[in-house]
């Protein structure tokens, strides 16, 4: 093509643009399955609920169950522990949440949360740390009796999973 010729949109430009566009869509359509295959598969999603019998847990004790490969703490708190968790001013908390928001109303003694440190995913140790709740040995995060972060590198409170009381003695997580 003559270089001095004035640049106008030609049939060939149109063909280039449409070819590139179709090519890009096609490439995306091929790449997406290759990426999405790495997301949790049906077998993993099928493990999404766990039912737990809580009739044997004494006040002040806790158990740990596995849900979706992660530990879940179920703690039956004593009245003193509940009062202590509720006596904290919200301004003191790095991630302000009321204790009431972290339990089901009327079931205040039951704290159900993911036993996963929000820093880098270790399992915190119970009845340890400066706030009598949990302490993560990996990088030194301290959690209180409501599972809220109080000190250390973790940015958030321990997560409360979706759960419900099926009956008085059974909790369904997920």
């Amino acid at each position: 093509m003559d270089k001095s010729e004035k640049k106008t949109t030609t049939r060939r430009d149109f063909l280039f643009t449409t070819s590139y566009t179709v090519g890009a869509v096609g490439l995306g359509a091929v790449v997406w399955p290759l990426i999405d295959q790495m997301n949790p598969d049906k077998a993993q999603k099928a493990l999404a609920t766990t039912e737990v019998d809580i009739s044997q847990i004494e006040p002040g004790k806790s158990i740990t169950v596995l849900w979706r490969g992660k530990p879940v703490f179920l703690k039956r708190r004593t009245q003193e522990e509940i009062l202590e968790a509720r006596s904290v001013a919200l301004e003191e908390l790095p991630h302000p949440e009321k204790d009431e928001e972290r339990v089901k109303s009327g079931k205040d003694e039951w704290l159900v949360m993911l036993g996963v440190c929000t820093h880098l995913g270790c399992v915190p140790l119970s009845n340890k740390g400066d706030y009598k709740g949990w302490f993560c040995p990996c990088h030194g995060s301290h959690y209180d009796l409501s599972g809220r972060i109080r000190k250390g590198p973790a940015p958030k409170n321990m997560e409360i999973p979706k759960y419900e009381f099926v009956d008085a003695n059974t909790i369904k997580i997920g």
């Binding site: 990426i35 790495m38 993993q44 979706r68 490969g69 880098l120 270790c122 399992v123």
Partner: protein, 419 residues
């Protein structure tokens, strides 16, 4: 590149070489003019090639016996150790080989830092080298997960959780990496697949690394440009091949020392306990070669900040050729930089030490000081020293005395012998 065109002597050789010039390549590699003053710090390129091949060969063999499944992996590693003929030897070579690989690569990198090998015109060699280093860390990390011990599992948990620090999409990315809602069987199988892939990517980059090296040729202890070929150079074969082989033999003695006398000293005993998602070990520590970066991660009280600084500590090396403003390459002629170089070495060693210690008290203070100094070295000290420093006279060539008399040359020479 070569001054004279290579022509095979035999008719068959010529016929083949005209169609695929492999013989020309071989001729280039044997005759490749190399500075005659290369010291033993220059032998680690060859040693690293040996390390890569060792890992590939032992790795292929281990994959014949290993089972990548959360329920079977731990037992299959014990099966390799107890039942497979020479399985213990092959696994110990592979696991200690990773440490030897990193030992060699750190020496290789610090050699480059001391003699200014990363500077123009060798920036691309340096950048490809850093890409190899990043892939090595990825391969080592994933390989450490495969035995599915406690350290494997919790190391994988901590490292993959680093990505959850990314705002908005962090959690989705972490779940995507896991293929589950925690480190689980899907994580193990994909890590195995990628662990097998990465060494071959590294091999490809090594070819590019050497190709890029053969364009300007080797840097050398005095760090000056030399004419090639000239009286300053020797052919790669036999002069460098024999020196590399001798250094490799010494290296293999140390390697064998670990494999046969202290095969577990660089590992962690918790990894002989099968992975348990319910219990985190009291002290999670990565392998020794990642400790300085782990110390940087833990020195920051903020999650995202720690992750950014940790990756930043590696990525800052990519712009190193442009941060160093000095015209002189070799630290032999840079009296001020030379001292900061050794301070940096001490700094990295201190970071490595505190990375292995609990993140509290004096260790946390040291980690913070070490982290600040690390970045200070690259962002402030290096550019400023390059401007202010009065460098010593650089020789005109390797064979000739320095610009302003022979005294300086003898010093440079002495330095080379010492190093």
């Amino acid at each position: 590149m070569s001054e004279k065109e290579y022509v095979p002597k035999s008719k068959a050789g010529k016929w083949f070489n005209d169609r695929l010039p492999l013989l020309s390549l071989a001729s280039h590699l044997t005759d490749y003019p190399t500075p005659k003053n290369l010291n033993y710090w220059w032998t680690f390129g060859g040693i690293l090639t040996f390390c890569l091949l060792t890992q590939i060969i032992t790795g292929i063999v281990l994959a014949m016996h290993y089972v990548a499944h959360a329920d079977l992996a731990f037992a299959s590693v014990e099966h390799i150790m107890r039942d497979v003929n020479y399985g213990w030897l092959i696994r110990y070579i592979h696991s200690n080989g990773a440490s030897m690989f990193f030992l060699a690569v750190y020496i290789h990198i610090f050699r480059s830092l001391f003699y200014g090998s990363y500077k123009s015109p060798r920036e691309i060699i340096w950048i490809i080298g850093l890409m190899i280093y990043l892939l090595m860390m990825a391969a080592a990390f994933m390989g450490y997960v495969l035995p599915w011990g406690q350290m494997s599992f919790w190391g994988a948990t901590v490292i993959t959780n680093l990505f959850s620090a990314i705002p908005l999409v962090g959690d989705s990315i972490t779940t995507w990496l896991w293929g589950a809602y925690s480190v689980d069987n899907p994580t193990l199988t994909r890590f195995f697949s990628l662990h097998y892939l990465i060494p071959f990517l590294i091999l490809g980059l090594v070819v590019l690394h050497i190709w890029a090296l053969h364009v300007p040729g080797n840097n050398n202890p005095v760090g000056i440009d030399i004419k090639k070929p000239s009286k300053d150079t020797v052919p790669f074969h036999p002069y460098i091949t024999i020196k590399d082989t001798f250094a490799l033999l010494l290296f293999m003695i140390i390697f064998a020392g670990f494999v046969f006398f202290a095969p577990n000293v660089l590992g962690h005993s918790d990894n002989y306990i099968q992975a348990n998602p319910m219990v985190t070990p009291a002290h999670i520590v990565p392998e020794w070669y990642l400790l300085p970066f782990y110390a940087i991660l833990r020195s920051v009280p903020d999650k995202l900040g720690g992750v950014i600084l940790m990756f930043g500590a590696i990525f800052i090396l990519f712009i190193l050729p442009w941060l160093d403003t000095s015209k002189v390459r070799s630290a032999v002629f840079r009296p001020i930089y030379r001292q900061f170089f050794w301070i940096l070495i001490v700094d990295v060693l201190v970071l490595g030490y505190v990375g292995a210690m609990p993140a509290e008290g004096i260790y946390l203070v040291l980690a913070r000081v070490g982290t600040v100094y690390y970045f200070l070295h690259f962002i402030v000290i290096l550019p400023v020293v390059g401007y202010l420093e009065k460098t010593e006279p650089v020789p005109l060539s390797i064979s000739e005395p320095a610009l302003s008399g022979s005294a300086d040359y003898s010093m440079a020479k002495k330095d080379n012998e010492k190093i």
